[in-house]
Amino acid sequence: MSTLLEVEHLKVRFRSMGALRALMRRVKDPYIDAVCDVSFRIGRGETLGLVGESGSGKSTIARALMGLIPSHGGSMRFDGTELRGLSQRAYKPVRRDMAMMFQDPVGSLSPRLTVRSLITEPFRIHGVRDRDMDAETRRLLEMVGLPAGFAQRFPHQLSGGQARRVGVARALALDPRLVIADEPTAGLDVSIQGEVMNLLAELQDRLGIGMVVITHNLNVVRHISDQMAVMYLGRFVEQGPTEEVFHRPRHPYTEVLLSANPEPDPDAKLHRVEARGDIPSLAHRPTGCEFHTRCPRARDYCREVAPALSSAAPDHTYTCHFPLEADAKERRLEA
């Protein structure tokens, strides 16, 4: 499968204080690293799921990809074009091929525009004038399963699920090759979540678009992504094919996330693994393995030495000194 997006050693930093204050406090490096050394590859029509707690840098990666915030290292190649260092003007054609759906379904729609104006906005922005906007409106609404009458509605007249569908229609208006979905199911009822997930999966099958799905809902990841990556403090701690990671997690953090995921079967025997304490501040990263402060398996060694990237399979990588064994899940179920 040919590569659509290849990200290597991406780094995004935010200023943590003003230049003057940094000078006064003698802070040499007044930045925090929100995303650190992140690499991944998405093929055409493939989906990558990004999971991790709030503040782990998932959305930051999305915004850096869309050129909404600057990145500070590494490379991002989309369809062979290097995106880092492009001017806003040069980014415009990229934004035609790469669409992003934002977290808040209603809040990401401009409140004074009708649904028709909202979903045809990409045509106007990119100067596509040779199409019949009424026909396009009908085509896009039908594609996301909304009646044509919705064209005249305003965002505040839509429910969360309907607004999300409008967001999907808008993202797909110009037939992008990559769609970045930031929490596509956040704030929706469980039944609506299912509908939106099915819609995304179906559209992806039919249109063959690549997707990056950011979520902390593991069911979403399992449902629609081929590959998944687990983020902690701006780094990928485990990355691999979704089923592989679900069945044979290696990193203790992945295990914590998986065991925190509610099981539909109330009688299922649960083996809960919990992380202690809270997620550390990005400004004070722990030494050694950054997960050691919360890891149930941490030893002294972990506090001192940062683990290198290891592979369980050619495309399944993790960073842990004492990974879970491959049969851990099976043993867990027996226990």
């Binding site: 869309m66 909404l68 980014y91 415009k92 934004r95 035609r96 669409a99 992003m100 934002f102 977290q103 808040d104 809040g107 990401s108 729609l109 401009s110 409140p111 004074r112 525009l113 028709r116 906005e121 990409p122 922005i125 990119h126 009424d134 409106t137 009646p147 044509a148 009458g149 064209a151 005249q152 808008r170």
Partner: protein, 298 residues
């Protein structure tokens, strides 16, 4: 285009309620003070627009009748110290007052809007620079600033408009800046940027329509301030030049002869009071209607 719009509408299946404007009108109707304001404003603006047609006498013509005469059938508001018809002068003075208000506020509104959008959406250093200038302008006491400008440029209608415009710009610019900043934090602005929309499009299509409503309400509440300022400057002899009538000059002249007759002062003062009340009531009613947070009945 018209035909396609109709087909889309006919496909509509749900029943829609009143349009926004009908709803606003219903709210205004249930607000007696606001309605009173509206009536006063319509009366004042109407008489200003039609002033040349409805004046019973030429407001600058010196009549042969009594001077400082009390109200009578020929002169409902009496005559001034030169024997001119006070009602005609009040009506023409209203035209001057409205002209100053509309001219000054539209200039202040457009420049304030532009500066506010730049400060609110532009880079931080530009924002800080603009704020410094705006706050410096606003720090001047209005009357002192007005007297200084009038001394420099000479008293005239244009000077009054200029003074009012300059002193009002910072107020509007600040309001627009704050609104723009809070709107820019919305996710839909980020979504527009992600779609590739440029700054002009984001400002024009997605921010301006959300800023303009509150701004127009603010402006309508500022009309009485401007009228009072014009009257004040004219009272001080620094505004409109005689023989052009202005509420301020009517007051000033009447004040000199108040021991002979109270009528000119009453005739010049009442329209100022009524206009102030009218625009204030209407402005407050509009604010309640358009600001959903203050809405009681929804």
């Amino acid at each position: 285009m018209v035909a396609t719009a109709e087909t889309t509408r006919s496909e509509q299946t749900d029943v829609r309620g009143d349009s926004a404007w009908v709803q606003h009108w219903k709210q205004l109707r249930s607000n007696p003070l606001g309605l009173f304001g509206l009536v006063l404003v319509v009366l004042m603006v109407g008489s200003a627009v039609l002033a040349d047609v409805i004046v019973p006498y030429d407001p600058t013509q010196i009549l042969v009748g009594p001077r400082l005469g009390p109200p009578s059938w020929e002169h409902p508001l009496g005559t001034d110290q030169l024997g001119r018809d006070t009602l005609s002068r009040v009506i023409m003075g209203g035209q001057v007052a409205m002209l100053v208000a509309v001219a000054a506020l539209s200039v202040a509104l457009s420049i304030g809007l532009l500066l506010g959008l730049i400060a609110g959406f532009g880079p931080r250093w530009l924002d800080n620079g603009l704020l410094l200038v705006l706050d410096s302008v606003r720090a001047f006491p209005v009357i002192i600033f007005a007297l200084a400008v009038i001394t420099l440029l000479g008293p005239s209608l244009t000077t009054v408009v200029l003074v009012v415009a300059i002193t009002s710009i910072p107020v509007y610019a600040r309001v627009v800046r704050t609104q723009t900043q809070s709107l820019s934090d919305n996710e839909y602005i980020l979504a527009e940027r992600a779609m590739g929309a440029g700054t002009p499009r984001i400002l024009g299509v997605h921010i301006l329509p959300n800023v303009i409503g509150p701004l127009l309400i603010l402006a309508s509440m500022d009309v009485p301030l401007v009228i009072a300022l014009e009257a004040g400057l004219s009272f001080l002899g620094m505004g409109v030049r005689p023989p052009t009538p202005s509420w301020g000059t009517i007051l000033n002249n009447g004040y000199n002869y108040i021991q002979n007759s109270p009528w000119p002062v009453i005739a010049g003062g009442i329209p100022i009071i009524l206009t102030t009340l009218g625009f204030t009531f209407l402005g407050e009613a509009l604010r309640d209607i358009f600001d959903p947070k203050l809405r009681r009945d929804v």
